[in-house]
C-alpha cells in the first residue's frame, strides 16, 4: 500500500460519486430515506480536507484515520460499515505491509469480512455486500491463480457490476429496505451501487498505474 495511491483514490472516488449524484439519490429515495449520496459526499469531503494531514503518514496510519473520520462524518448505516472496512485494512497493513496483489486481495477480503460482522449480514440481503463479496471472491481467486493484473482488475469490475445488478431482484433483509418487503424488488440497492462505483473507480486507477 502507498499513501499516495490512497489519496489519489480518494480524489477519484469523490469525482465518480459526485457524477452519480442524481442516480444514488434516487436509488435511496426509492427504497431508503434518500440520504445515501449526501452521506457519502460528506465523508468524501472530510477525507479531501484531510489531504495534507494524511500525505506524510505511513499507509496504516492514514487508513486508520480515514476509517475514524468516515465513522464520525458519514453516519447512517454506511458510516460504520465503511469505517470498519478501513480500520480493518489499517490493522492488516499495520501487521505487515500489504504490497503484492495477493496480499491486497487478502486484506480486502478480511475487511469485507469485518463489514459482514459489523452489519450481521451476508450475501443476498440486498446490501453493499452483494457488490463487495463477489469482488473479494474474484480478487482472491484470480490472484491465487496468478492472473495478469489487468485481467484481475477487469474481472473485479465485472464482478462488482454483476453483484450490484443482482440486488435488483432481491428482497432486502438488512438495512432500511428490509422494511419494504416485496416492494423493494425491482430497485437496485443504493449501497451496492455506490460500492460498485468505488470499486470500479479504484480498479480503473490501478489499471492506469500499471499500464
Amino acid at each position: 500500500m502507498r499513501t499516495e495511491f490512497i489519496l489519489e483514490a480518494i480524489e477519484a472516488v469523490n469525482n465518480a460519486l459526485l457524477n452519480s449524484e442524481a442516480e444514488l439519490e434516487s436509488l435511496d429515495r426509492e427504497i431508503g430515506d434518500g440520504d445515501h449520496f449526501i452521506n457519502l459526499k460528506r465523508g468524501c469531503a472530510a477525507l479531501l480536507a484531510m489531504h495534507d494531514e494524511l500525505a506524510p503518514l505511513p499507509p496504516a496510519d492514514a487508513l486508520q484515520r480515514i476509517g475514524m473520520k468516515l465513522l464520525s462524518t458519514i453516519g447512517g448505516a454506511s458510516g460504520p460499515l465503511f469505517a470498519t472496512f478501513f480500520t480493518t485494512l489499517a490493522k492488516v497493513e499495520k501487521a505487515g505491509n500489504i504490497s503484492s496483489l495477493t496480499e491486497i486481495a487478502a486484506a480486502f477480503s478480511a475487511s469485507v469480512e469485518a463489514i459482514k460482522q459489523r452489519g450481521k449480514a451476508g450475501a443476498g440481503e440486498k446490501t453493499m455486500l452483494d457488490t463487495l463479496i463477489p469482488v473479494a471472491e474474484t480478487f482472491g481467486r484470480l490472484t491465487a491463480a496468478n492472473a495478469a493484473p489487468v485481467e484481475i482488475f477487469d474481472a473485479i469490475q465485472q464482478a462488482a457490476e454483476a453483484g450490484m445488478l443482482s440486488t435488483r431482484d432481491m428482497i432486502a433483509t438488512k438495512g432500511r429496505a428490509a422494511f419494504l418487503g416485496e416492494r423493494a424488488i425491482g430497485h437496485i440497492d443504493p449501497g451496492a451501487r455506490s460500492s460498485q462505483i468505488i470499486i470500479h473507480t479504484i480498479a480503473d486507477l490501478a489499471k492506469q498505474q500499471i499500464g
Partner: protein, 331 residues
C-alpha cells in the same frame, strides 16, 4: 422545496443553536461532536442517552431534562449520529451508575450505537425500540422499526432512572415498555430531505401511504385516500393484532396520536376521537393520552397511532414529574 433555511449545510447547526438558546434553562449544546445534555448534570443515576437522525423533532433533544434524558446525540437529517458523539455525550453525563442507550431499531443507529458501546469505558446497556407494526416481523430478520413509541420508552425509563434504579432495572423496564407498545403511521404527503431538495416519494392527490416510516420509507401499501375513521380502523386493527390485549379485560392503555409535522392539531384530535372509540369498543380503558407532534418526519403530512398497555409500574413512571422542552408536567 420551500423551507426556512439559509444554507442546506447549516440547517442542523442553526436549528440546534436555536433550540439550545430557546431552552437555555434546560439544555446545553456541545458542538463537534454535536450532543446536548441537561443544563444541570444529574448525580447518582443511570445516564439515559438517546439519539438518531435529525428531522424528528422534538425527538430526541426535546426530551432532555429532569425525568427523561440526560443527553441526546443528533445526527444529520435522517442519518444516524456517529460513535464519537455518543462517547462524548456519555463522558459528559455519566454519573457513576452506567449508561443506558435508547436506540430506535435502524441498521445505522444500531451499528453506530453498538460501536460506541464497544468503545465506552463505562458499564452500559441498550434498549432497542421497535414499536412499528407496519413492518411484519416474521420474514425479516432486521425486526421492526422504532417510531413514536420511543417517546414513551424514554419517559418511563427516564422516570425510573431518576429514582436511582440500577442499569439492569432501567434496561428491563425499557424493554418491557417497548414490548407492550405498538405503533403504525400513515402519510398523506412525502417529506423532503433538505439536502435532496425534492420529495422522497411521489404521492397523488387521492392516495395515502399506509404504514409509512418516519423517514418517508414506503409502508405496507399505497392506497386510495379514505375517510379518517376507515384509516384509523386499519391502524388500530394492526396495533391490536400485535398487542393482543386480553379481550374484555378492561386493560388500561396509553393512547398517543402523533403528528408527523404538517398535520394540524385539529385533525390529530379528530383521529384521537376515532381511535379512542375503537379502543373502547375493544374493551380497553384509555387512561392516559398524548396528542401532538412528538415524533415527526420533517415536513410530512400524516400521523401515527401508538398504544401502550399500561401496568401500575408504567403508569406511575408516565405520571411522574418531567421537565423537558417538549414534555412537561408536575414541575
Amino acid at each position: 422545496m420551500k423551507k426556512f433555511i439559509n444554507n442546506v449545510d447549516d440547517i442542523l447547526i442553526e436549528s440546534l443553536s436555536g433550540f439550545a438558546a430557546a431552552h437555555a434553562d434546560i439544555v446545553s449544546l456541545n458542538l463537534e461532536p454535536h450532543f446536548l445534555t441537561r443544563k444541570q448534570k444529574a448525580e447518582n443515576k443511570v445516564a439515559i442517552i438517546s439519539g438518531g437522525g435529525s428531522g424528528h423533532e422534538p425527538l430526541h433533544s426535546g426530551y432532555i431534562g429532569y425525568g427523561m434524558l440526560d443527553a441526546a446525540c443528533p445526527g444529520h437529517v435522517f442519518t444516524s449520529p456517529s460513535p464519537d458523539q455518543m462517547l462524548a455525550a456519555a463522558e459528559a453525563v455519566h454519573a457513576g451508575k452506567g449508561v443506558l442507550f435508547i436506540v430506535k431499531n435502524y441498521a445505522g443507529d444500531v451499528m453506530n450505537f453498538e460501536m460506541a458501546a464497544e468503545m465506552l469505558p463505562f458499564e452500559n446497556a441498550t434498549v432497542l425500540t421497535s414499536d412499528d407494526v407496519a413492518v411484519e416481523n416474521s420474514t425479516y430478520t432486521t425486526g421492526r422499526r422504532g417510531v413514536a413509541g420511543t417517546v414513551i420508552v424514554e419517559k418511563v425509563v427516564g422516570s425510573l432512572a431518576e429514582t436511582g434504579a440500577d442499569l439492569a432495572a432501567c434496561k428491563a423496564l425499557g424493554d418491557k415498555v417497548n414490548s407492550r407498545t405498538a405503533s403504525m403511521g400513515v402519510a398523506l404527503t412525502s417529506c423532503t430531505v433538505p439536502a435532496a431538495g425534492r420529495p422522497t416519494f411521489d404521492i397523488g392527490d387521492t392516495e395515502l401511504e399506509m404504514g409509512v416510516g418516519i423517514h418517508g420509507e414506503p409502508g405496507r401499501r399505497r392506497e386510495a385516500m379514505r375517510n379518517a375513521d376507515a384509516i384509523v380502523a386499519d391502524l388500530v386493527a394492526a396495533i391490536l393484532e400485535d398487542l393482543k390485549p386480553t379481550p374484555g379485560s378492561e386493560s388500561e392503555v396509553l393512547l398517543l396520536v402523533n403528528g408527523f409535522a404538517a398535520t394540524p392539531l385539529m385533525e390529530l384530535y379528530l383521529l384521537y376521537n376515532s381511535a379512542s372509540k375503537l379502543l373502547q369498543a375493544h374493551g380497553l380503558v384509555i387512561s392516559r393520552s398524548l396528542v401532538g407532534n412528538y415524533t415527526t418526519a420533517l415536513d410530512m403530512a400524516g400521523a401515527s397511532i401508538t398504544v401502550t398497555l399500561l401496568d401500575d409500574e408504567i403508569r406511575q413512571h408516565w405520571d411522574s414529574p418531567v421537565h423537558t422542552a417538549a414534555l412537561r408536567w408536575q414541575c
